[in-house]
Symmetry: C2
Subunit: 321 residues, 2 copies
């Protein structure tokens, strides 16, 4: 079993690589990304290749050995794809198409688990989203992901690949530093205060979002890879389960878990650019398809925060006054 | 006012060119296609350019003079795109993307009327389709059209173009000869018997389809070009109005208009390939958006047949016994 993880240097990709190997110790795993954390780069249990997914030669080289299973997580994130249109089109659309074309050319019909996004939906935020809802992205990132979903479906229908597209909620809490995703603040408002730093959010506190933890998304990626294609049906897209939460609720939960002093490090700082994208994301989903297929979400926000604290070895002093 | 019609050699494009000029006599109109009917090629009222939309150099050349309005009707039809995957991807997807990219590069924000298709929908044929229904194409043609719809929306949102995507029902009655569209039989069963020839249909007679006449689709193209973008909204896609009709109803109407001898020239000839595509097209639409914007359909099938007979100067002898 040869497994290729594209975008394995990011925090979801890294965690996926490690957990996939734990569950599949006999798999031969190749990791590809622009950059890798040192721990992964020096791990003899992986074949680590550094390169740019946006450059065609890398796709050719990576596919040459005909991996049986490909996790495709490489992407220019939402804020960056909005600000740098060409880069987003090159990586999110053209490179993904090239990957599919190369699979078609090789003819070995690999299984692909693609990181799509709930950011493909947009517009009326009161609607309840299912897989039957028309994607109406209000960002170039969402447009590019929606297009690749369509391509994955058609290439699967024709037997060129065996794809499953997981539409990811906003993943929180991401460890590390803020990134260029427009949803980055949904991690910052938990992560930074726990590290004794200030954080801000750009929307009204009652704005709601559809979130999932890194732990659950990695579990869902591994689960997707194991599913029989027949169970998924002709539409290979799956809106992952999540939690609908307001920013205020996240702050309240942080306060419950880590104390009032920590929660007070968060402030409201409106940002029109971020609002123009994140407030078009509908936060209400009916994930019956995902639920029936065995995909899972977190129990609640407190559990998400507690898991983050445990995984990152953060010391909490609740007697901080 | 400089107008460019891409795919102007086809029967809808030709008719659009002629009727658009009638209504806009001062417009400078360039026609582009692989082939043209002689009448159009020698018409001094048009600039006629022969070339392949799939070749990038033509798009560059055509766009150089910065047309204010572009009708984009060039396509590899459904049956052909299903049988020749690469050709469909090249023309329907890549060339359309190249057109959009060239517009972005030139920066003059042309208005584009794009011939999309109701073939982007698929699956449960009992559902009632609106613009909020997720496209789930069961053909490569439908996939390619759905992707260009998404691109047209994003390029419009960003101000690179001002697009309106008309999702066409099956156009019937097409004059001329059968083509490689999987829906070609829906014209053949009217056209061929009226010309004294046999025709067949590949589905059960109670199978229903969503149809529109050439007359109405041309009118709707011209109407789309005149609409204020603000009226259309963020989603530039419009499912055109039409009629939901069974094959049997079309045969019955032909018999009413042209007699029983004519109608008896039609026979049932099942075809698994055609069924695998056309039977995935939902025939029920709620076209409130199109209706409110002033798009129109035919009154009934008899009117469609009578218009076809009049336009093609066909002689009907109802005393044929």
């Amino acid at each position: 079993m040869h497994v290729l993880i594209i975008g394995a240097g990011g925090f979801i990709g890294s965690r996926l690589a490690t957990e996939y190997r734990q569950e599949n110790p006999s798999a031969s795993i190749t990791l590809f990304d622009l950059h890798f954390p040192e721990k992964l780069r020096e791990d003899p249990g992986f074949t680590v290749i550094t390169g740019n997914f946006g450059e065609p030669k890398w796709i050719d080289q990576l596919l040459e050995s005909k991996p049986d299973l490909i996790f495709h997580l490489a992407a220019v994130v939402s804020g960056e794809a909005e600000k740098n249109f060409e880069l987003g089109m090159d990586v999110n659309l053209r490179a993904s198409l090239r990957l599919l074309e190369k699979c078609r050319e090789l003819g070995h019909q690999p299984r692909i688990v693609f990181a799509s996004s709930c950011g493909i939906f947009g517009g009326d935020v009161r609607q309840i989203i299912t897989e039957d809802t028309a994607p109406k992205p209000r960002s170039s990132y969402g447009t590019q992901k929606a297009i690749v979903d369509l391509l994955m479906n058609d290439y699967s229908r024709r037997g060129f690949v065996d794809a499953r597209c997981l539409r990811l909620p906003t993943i929180t809490v991401r460890p590390g530093k803020p990134n260029a995703a427009t949803s980055s603040f949904l991690s910052s408002i938990i992560r930074e205060p726990l590290n004794g730093q200030e954080a801000s959010y750009p929307v009204n506190p009652d704005a709601e979002f559809w979130i999932l933890s890194p732990r659950q998304v990695v579990r869902n990626f591994i689960h997707a890879a194991s599913l029989d294609a027949k169970l998924i049906g002709a539409d290979r897209c799956i809106n992952l389960p999540g939690l609908t939460v307001s920013v205020q609720h996240m702050i309240d939960c942080l306060q419950k878990v880590a104390g009032v002093k920590t929660a007070r490090r968060i402030r409201h700082e409106p940002d029109a650019f971020l609002q123009s994208i994140v407030l078009t994301w509908p936060p209400h989903f009916n994930t019956r398809k995902a639920d029936q297929l065995g995909f899972t979400a977190d129990r609640d926000v407190e559990e998400i925060i507690q898991n983050y604290i445990r995984e990152e070895n953060i010391q909490i002093d609740l007697h901080e006054s």
